[in-house]
């Protein structure tokens, strides 16, 4: 395969097709609409299911219905749409069906704007719907990474029968860069034994999140928590740059993490020992590795395109062992290398 110039939204959509996506339901919302547009053609060409729903509420419930049949199903959206999907996300979690959702975050709250943002961190990692559950949240920092994460997302969703959210942002969705798509994989031709397909020669399968009786619902919750614990043990992912000798550790994910690579390069030119820790899974958070790094660095600078949502997790895992500083921009403002570098330089003088 060769590399080609790809826009983020088109790249992840085509990667999904090539990973055997069987059903896509979505509703247009900037900055991810190109994904829906791309799939409107490609899914039909491949003889698969594509439907533009009447709302994000309908879209996620269509995805939920499709997932109940055991096919690879997904949707993509942005913050305001994800908010409408919260109902379905909770039902999906409670019913234990595999679903992949891509959220290209934009500025909020409210209608906000369509510029890149990371202000849905808490929403996705901690409170994607009512009840006790966490989606598995993947955070790509480049077009190649979101392509690769689509395949991973389906694998994880199906392995654990769980909800996986890919946390992109407007810049991952809108920018173009050179990347390689995976080869075309055939769609699965088998149906999981738990799926609904018509009760031919077997007892009926019922997929529901309703468990009347507190003990029964607690049993479901215990099962969900055990699954989340297993995900926590097995699926933590992160990337490090120049952490071996770092005095100051930058902690950032996605687009902010990518910007921090440039900050790190500039700082190193000045002889400042700066490293980068970039979580690729926001839930489960790579807390053990962060905790180890906290033992060896003198300070941490968290950089986010939000008011400091991941910051709270970093504080929780570092537990006051080293000072934690924060550089955040909100409302769709992308932090520039120079402004972060100024913080790094100031901290180096302390």
């Amino acid at each position: 395969m060769t590399k080609q110039l790809l826009k983020g939204n088109v790249a992840f959509a085509e990667a999904a097709v090539r990973n055997g996506l069987q059903a896509y339901f979505g509703y247009p919302i900037t900055p991810q609409s190109e994904a829906l547009e791309h799939l409107s053609g490609r899914m039909i060409e491949e003889g698969r299911v594509f439907l533009q729903a009447e709302s994000e509420v309908a879209a996620i419930n269509m995805v939920y219905g499709a997932a109940c049949t055991g096919v690879r199903a997904m949707t993509s959206t942005s913050g305001p749409g994800l908010a409408l999907m919260a109902e379905g996300l909770s039902y999906i979690a409670g019913s234990e069906v595999p679903v992949v959702v891509v959220n290209m975050m934009r500025g909020g709250p409210g209608l906000g704007n369509i510029q890149p943002s990371q202000a849905d961190y808490n929403f996705m990692t901690k409170s994607a719907g009512h009840g006790d559950f966490h989606p598995l949240v993947l955070a790509p920092a480049s077009i190649q990474e979101i392509i690769d994460m689509i395949g991973l997302a389906f694998e994880l969703a199906e392995k654990y029968r769980t909800l996986v959210i890919i946390a992109g942002d407007g810049s991952i969705g809108q920018m173009m860069e050179s990347a390689e798509l995976p080869p075309m994989q055939p769609v699965r031709d088998t149906v999981p034994d738990w799926a609904v397909s018509g009760a031919k020669g077997r007892d009926p399968n019922v997929i529901t999140s309703l468990y009347l009786g507190a003990e029964k619902l607690e049993a479901l919750n215990l099962r969900l928590q055990a699954k989340l614990a297993e995900i926590k043990r097995n699926e933590v992912r992160s990337v490090e740059v120049a952490t071996e000798d770092a005095d100051l550790l930058l902690v950032a994910y996605g687009t902010a993490g990518r910007i921090c690579v440039s900050v790190l390069r500039e700082a190193r030119k000045q002889g400042l020992k700066v490293g980068l820790f970039r979580p690729q899974t926001l839930w489960p958070y790579p807390e053990e590795r962060l905790s180890e790094l906290a033992e060896q660095v003198k300070g941490i600078l968290v950089v986010e395109m939000s008011a400091g949502q991941m910051l709270e997790d970093v504080q929780r895992f570092v537990q006051g062992r080293v000072p934690i500083h924060f550089h955040g921009r909100m409302g769709g403002v992308i932090p520039m290398v120079d402004e972060i570098l100024a913080d790094v330089e100031a901290l180096a003088k302390e």
């Binding site: 069987q22 059903a23 339901f25 299911v49 439907l51 729903a53 009447e54 709302s55 509420v57 309908a58 879209a59 419930n61 269509m62 995805v63 939920y64 219905g65 499709a66 109940c68 049949t69 096919v71 199903a73 109902e87 379905g88 039902y91 019913s95 609904v196 397909s197 018509g198 009760a199 031919k200 020669g201 009926p204 399968n205 019922v206 997929i207 529901t208 999140s209 309703l210 009347l212």
Partner: protein, 263 residues
């Protein structure tokens, strides 16, 4: 004494039996509620069409949330009002399977209005059974979108004042306006004749799906003695007179292809 099918004496004919599509458990429904009757009608139709093993039902939120305990097919449980969205996806993945939703008036005509209108308008070849008893049963008798003007509920204690609470929604009349609907009818399960006609309508609605004709919905006028605070018999009479008086029992849309089906 119960006879098995093979034990039927020669010269006699089996005219009534327990449908295979109905599970043998006691129901949780209140005395005088017609959910049990309509469940049975659906089960009889699935049996007669021979599609039980090829059917996927979508359960609503409301009193019939546990329908999958009674209808012996694969089922998924939808969020409140979203059954048509789930059914849409399942039917598109399995065009050859029979997919139906079973919804109450609050589920279909309030919180799920968008989903049902758009499923109908797209002409999804699914079958919808809509139970209209003019009240929210499971939550304890609050106003439904179909609550009659002046009707007392726990959230309209002095009677539904339409100038404040809005007017009753005539769902079938609205669905009949959608281009994708092929069969929209309102029936009443409050007496023997009505129950027989309701069954024929349900069968026609499933046949419309099996023939791939488009969206079909059977609205069924029903009772809720518990939340109407009257007895089962009185409730049947009240439904016939008052619900039937406001919501005409008629077929609002039936295409020629649907008309030609032998139900």
């Amino acid at each position: 004494m119960t006879l098995t099918r093979t034990e039927i004496p020669e010269g006699m004919e089996l005219v009534y039996s327990y449908p295979d599509s109905l599970t043998k458990v006691s129901s949780h429904y209140c005395p005088g509620c017609v959910h049990g009757i309509v469940h049975r009608l659906v089960a009889e139709v699935l049996d007669e069409l021979g599609v039980r093993e090829n059917t996927i039902g979508v359960a609503p939120v409301g009193c019939s949330v546990l329908i999958y305990n009674y209808i012996n097919t694969d089922f998924v449980g939808a969020a409140h009002g979203r059954a048509p969205a789930m059914a849409t996806a399942i039917k598109r993945i399995y065009p050859d399977k029979v997919v139906f939703t079973y919804q109450g008036d609050g589920d279909i005509a309030a919180i799920g209005t968008a989903e049902i209108i758009h499923a109908a308008n797209r002409g999804e070849p699914i079958t919808t059974i809509a139970i209209n008893n003019a009240i929210y049963g499971m939550t304890g008798g609050q106003m439904a979108p179909t609550t009659l003007p002046g009707m007392v509920t726990t959230s309209t204690p002095t009677g539904r004042n339409c100038e404040v609470a809005g007017y009753p929604v005539k769902l079938s009349e609205i669905l009949a306006q959608t281009a994708g609907a092929v069969y929209i009818t309102r029936q009443s399960a409050t007496d023997i004749v009505g129950i027989r006609k309701t069954k024929r309508a349900i069968k026609r609605a499933f046949l419309a799906q099996i023939h791939g004709l488009g969206f079909a919905c059977v609205e069924v006028l029903a009772t809720c003695p518990t939340n109407w605070n009257i007895g089962p018999w009185e409730a049947m009479q009240w439904a016939k007179e008052h619900l039937g008086g406001f919501y005409p029992v008629e077929t609002f849309k039936m295409t020629d292809e649907v008309k030609a089906l032998k139900a």
